[in-house]
Symmetry: C2
């Protein structure tokens, strides 16, 4: 996961508005696209052309004002592959109008997929990855995104299959669970022929949201959780007022969901040094990290 921006609504000289790119099974998926995202994308050396989709959590400017500039630039760079945008339906009309006014003769299709942030639903699904919405609670309709790899078939133990002279043409069957029967009728059990694949990974992005005590129920088995931590304990009341979370609350969600790793972000501009947020979160959930622009996290 590449962090392009992890600031909150007020831009600072330290943080850009929200945007991330998740690299999963050769695909690049962007989550949120605040102003300046295209510059950050360039800075990150991520290949623009490999970006297939953009997921927008909610219609606040710091999560989507960078879209039109990025679409326009992709056009100038000669993109031809469609770009899929998943967002609340209200964004489509506005974006379409902007594209018509500013991006005449766009050489690729912008395919809009309307999502309902109030539901937990699979909004993207292919043979290797799925994306599911996570209903959140903010001042406007908002959802997070759960990006899940699908299990892959086990790996063939080549030493064993070679030993029994099993032809490559049988590997698909074996990967799918078949035993092998030798010429003299001996059954070689499947478990000897294969080795389990790496377990599928999953990543959840939850921003922006107030603290949701039951959110962890939707995050079972998640490896890495990015949860907004706009404020620290010192501003708990502001967090409640503006439907944001504190770092401690983010850590509580991570702890209750038993994730492996928590990444904090969406910092209020009032924190010159986010170490105070990290410390408050670590008191509840040890494996917490601070997001920073250009960071790359393994899930």
């Amino acid at each position: 996961m590449h962090v392009l921006g992890c600031g909150s609504a007020l831009p600072t000289l330290r943080h850009y508005a929200s945007s991330q790119v998740v690299e999963v099974r050769g695909k690049l998926m962007m989550i949120d696209c605040g102003e300046g995202t295209q510059m950050q994308l360039r800075r990150s050396h991520i290949r623009f052309t490999k970006l297939s989709s953009v997921f927008i959590s909610h219609l606040h400017g710091d999560h989507c004002f960078g879209l039109i500039g990025m679409l326009s630039t992709f056009g100038m760079l000669g993109r031809t592959a469609p770009l899929h945008i998943y967002a609340e339906p209200r964004l489509e009309a506005m974006l379409t109008e902007q594209v018509e006014m500013f991006c005449r003769d766009l050489g690729y299709d912008v395919v809009f997929h309307a999502i309902n942030p109030a539901l937990s639903a699979v909004i993207y699904d292919d043979h290797s990855v799925s994306v599911t919405t996570i209903p959140l609670s903010h001042r406007v309709p908002t959802c997070g995104f759960l990006i899940s790899e699908k299990p892959t078939l086990p790996h063939i133990r080549r030493q064993v299959t070679d030993f029994f002279g099993i032809p490559v043409s049988q590997f698909d069957n074996i990967k799918n669970g078949a035993d092998w029967i030798t010429d003299d009728g001996r059954v070689i059990e499947n478990s000897r022929l294969v080795e389990a694949a790496e377990p599928p990974r999953s990543y959840a992005y939850c921003s922006d949201t107030c603290y949701l005590p039951d959110l962890h129920l939707l995050l079972k088995g998640v490896n890495t959780l990015y949860h907004e931590s706009t404020f620290g304990d010192d501003n708990l009341q502001l967090a409640e007022k503006y439907h944001h979370s504190t770092a401690r609350q983010a850590a509580t969600v991570a702890r209750d969901a038993h994730v492996n790793q928590l990444i904090l972000g969406h910092y209020s501009s009032r924190y010159e040094d986010e170490q105070v947020l990290l410390k408050e979160a670590e008191a509840v959930f040890a494996n917490t990290k601070l997001a920073n622009e250009m960071d790359v996290f393994d899930i």
Copy 2:
């Protein structure tokens, strides 16, 4: 004049999209507002609150995609003074819709002034400054802006007025040209009582445009000219194709208009080092400078 961005349509790591702030007689006027302008404004330490107006040259994204983010941020910062936007009428509907969707309860008025880029007309006028459109020729309707100070009254020569015992109550009359008659009937001519004020300055912004051989006729008496120089001689054909100018053409306009100073900008991303553009311009007009982000030019 503060340069916030002087790149062209494709963003690079070296240049931001077009935006400038002109400081004149205590007012701050912005010209163009590409993506990232609000971040550059913050970087420049210009006081957001003093910005009174934004002039948009044309409806290409690299000249206006930063508007909505800046408007939104001004709202969050508690702005109450109206912000005046001068642009083609088509921008108003779109911007109004964006403000309604993204900036509920904006605490200040965005006052839209429709301009006609095809005419040379005074679009702003107060007691000390006027702004006039300069018709340009680009792929979409485009105009430049001429910002002109008005002449100020001459300064009183205090030594002379004290010598003749002239009361302060008469200074306004004297500044406006009155002579002084002493008690014994002697006439002290006005020219002895006052000293001419600094001559009014003017600044012209011309971007984007193809080379216009007659443009200099609208630039008479201009002190400083900012003229786009997207390309060098090596890409004269591209300049013609995309209705842009070369550095040499910009310098030709500056020479023919007899300005004091030429500033180049709106560089194509293909130039890693703009010195080549500077050299080609200097061959035609010596007092040429390259704009760079965060540069401040005296007019």
